[in-house]
Symmetry: C2
Subunit: 256 residues, 2 copies
């Protein structure tokens, strides 16, 4: 039997410990090809590079796994990997492991998840993995068996067309991880503030900062799962239509 082709990408850059761990976890499951940004691309959302050319560099000296770095965004990496490197759709796309949460509303800002959503748009079974620990030396090992299990399930069962998975992992010890909860995105937003400073020449500048504000306590959400030491798995789609609102707006008077 041919091994499945597994494309690995991320948004923290190809050298980040999170992707190094993910590559290691995926090698027993298939033929791994890595195409990831050559620099951190956090917070890039579903950005694509249209006003600049893209560079792609083979960085692996070993024959396997093949690794490439790309000058673009995570979405660019997926597009280039499928079109120029694999020249076919991979059997699985995994993105991450992100250093930091992509639960709840973070999904919309996330480069990690935009790579997975781009995969879903191209009908590739895709998963984004994130660990709730921003630090460089975050410990990705406790979640290994769960990450492998989720990847195996997607390889075996596939995913419905246009759906990918958003997997978030609490930063706790292995014996504290309670298992997996399939759940929905919690309602929340970032209440941002700006750190206002002056540069050496006296001109103003601003750093974006913010506080995560959760708007519900339902036990059906990813935030609840993570708070209770479960790994959250949210199936994600990319129809932005608010279907239930259509009739209301159809009743508006546009001739006024």
């Amino acid at each position: 039997m041919t091994k499945p082709v597994i494309l690995v990408t991320n948004d923290d850059g190809v050298m980040a410990p999170g992707i190094r761990n993910l590559i290691e976890f995926m090698i027993p499951l298939g033929e791994v090809v890595v195409v990831a940004p050559n620099k951190p691309q956090s917070g890039m959302g579903h950005a694509v590079t249209i006003s600049n050319p893209l560079r792609l560099e083979k960085i692996s000296k070993e024959e396997y796994p093949q690794e490439f770095s790309c000058s673009g965004t995570p979405v660019d990496c997926v597009k280039l990997a499928v079109n120029k490197i694999l020249k076919r759709k991979p059997d699985l796309l995994v993105s991450g492991i992100n250093h930091g949460s992509n639960s709840s509303i973070n999904v919309i800002y996330s480069g990690t998840m935009s790579a997975a959503i781009e995969g879903a748009m191209e009908t590739i079974p895709s998963i984004g993995f994130s660990l709730l620990d921003f630090s460089f030396d975050a410990n990705f090992k406790p979640a290994k068996k769960f990450i492998v299990s989720i990847a195996k399930n997607v390889l075996k069962n596939g995913l419905p067309k246009g759906i990918c998975l958003n997997v978030n992992i609490p930063a706790v010890k292995e014996n504290e991880l309670k298992g997996i909860k399939v759940c929905r995105q919690a309602r929340a937003n970032w209440e941002e503030s700006f750190d206002h400073r002056k540069d050496p020449s006296g001109k103003d500048y601003y750093w974006l900062t913010g506080k995560f504000a959760l708007h519900e306590n339902s036990n059906e959400t990813d935030e609840w799962a993570l708070k209770n030491n479960y790994i959250s798995v949210v199936p994600v789609q990319f129809d932005f239509t608010a279907h239930s609102v259509i009739p209301e707006i159809q009743n508006w008077n546009f001739n006024g």
Copy 2:
């Protein structure tokens, strides 16, 4: 009665003809404040600037409308406008008029729409406007009365919490515009390809290009509306959860 405060932004940059037209259309409706990127930010999706500081510059010499340019993305502009300039939520946020379509799946890549979605996340009634003409000298006038009517409706009726509008306008003459269709995002994707070139030193580079591929012909979609000379209005939300898929994935075996 106090006039409503209207925040105007875009992704083509503060000097683009599309936003100059939108500002002109909004002035009769309220107190207009402009905060827009200082350079084109097309295709930025819901990107935010977290690894660089942001600059904000007052560019209007006249007292009204107040105009600011920002070094960041459209989403950064909204956040900075609310927090540092208005110091309150505006009564209406309008983004655009984009030079080019943001219908169907383009919504996910669109900086114009990410500003509107960011507005919705902050419970600001928000609308993104786009004209299906990429050119610098696109004619925004034929749609004026519809743009004004949609903005007036949102000012009067508000929008449900967490919902914004994605408005796309066919590039036709005024007498060919048939009216407004409230509809849903069509199923489509970009079948991308890359233009592969060599730079003067012989190194490879790639330009992202692609072809829009529509996957349905339903008359309930924005693509149908636009093709038939209607202005499409899609209510947009930011819950990415594929709710109907949750039970299926809950049945997976994660102990295997």
